[in-house]
Symmetry: C2
Subunit: 114 residues, 2 copies
Amino acid sequence: MSRPEALSPARLKDAAPLFAALGDATRLGLLVSLCASGPLTVTRLSGQFAVSRQAITKHLDVLAEAGLVTSARQGRERIWTFEPKRLEDAHQYLARLSREWDVALGRLKAFVES
Amino acid sequence: MSRPEALSPARLKDAAPLFAALGDATRLGLLVSLCASGPLTVTRLSGQFAVSRQAITKHLDVLAEAGLVTSARQGRERIWTFEPKRLEDAHQYLARLSREWDVALGRLKAFVES
DNA sequence: AAAAAATGCAACCGAGGGGTTGCATCAGTC
DNA sequence: GACTGATGCAACCCCTCGGTTGCATTTTTT
């Protein structure tokens, strides 16, 4: 059993694809759009970017694979929706790293003062 | 003037490379090592991973480019140190996105109730 | 001064990422 | 049923990424 805060290699393998999905300006832009304007279709989204609709589709697929968006067919169009859960996961990873660093600093301080 | 919380395209262009640097399991592992064990050299770090020293060097260069680590020559070796500032930046980006979403939800709620 | 350790530099390689274009398909609309 | 709009699918292209190997360079150490 590992503490829930531990940053095990297994956790890293889960975190990496998540951050990778966030590591593209167009994809971040898509998330912002979906956050601000609410659920949208591909064609509507691609109107806001300088790339083709198919390129946007691929980006949305990547975001969906990472769990950052979901989609649902509705008649002849597909609606894409932002999914805040995974964003919280990403936040947790960063918090854990940060905490690990603080702990290390504490150890160093204790060592210097001893 | 844009509010400091706004997620402008300019901010996204800054955030994307940062998240991209975090989007690799080996690089996340390097950050964890540097956090937990304190500043280390390349050879010492590469001992903990299954890839060559040169591969680790490239990863460290990527992390340095993103501002997540710094390095300093010391005699015949180079010491790599974790840099917590940029991690805080990443955290801020996520928080802004999350907040934007909450605002949108609030608007939706107000609309439904009107 | 010679050997050993730590790093730097450069070329190369295969896979995947981001983008495009063209065409097929499917669902409303007149 | 014919037309139009929104997607889906597939092939292709170029370039970056992660990784390798081989060798040069710089500092210690003996």
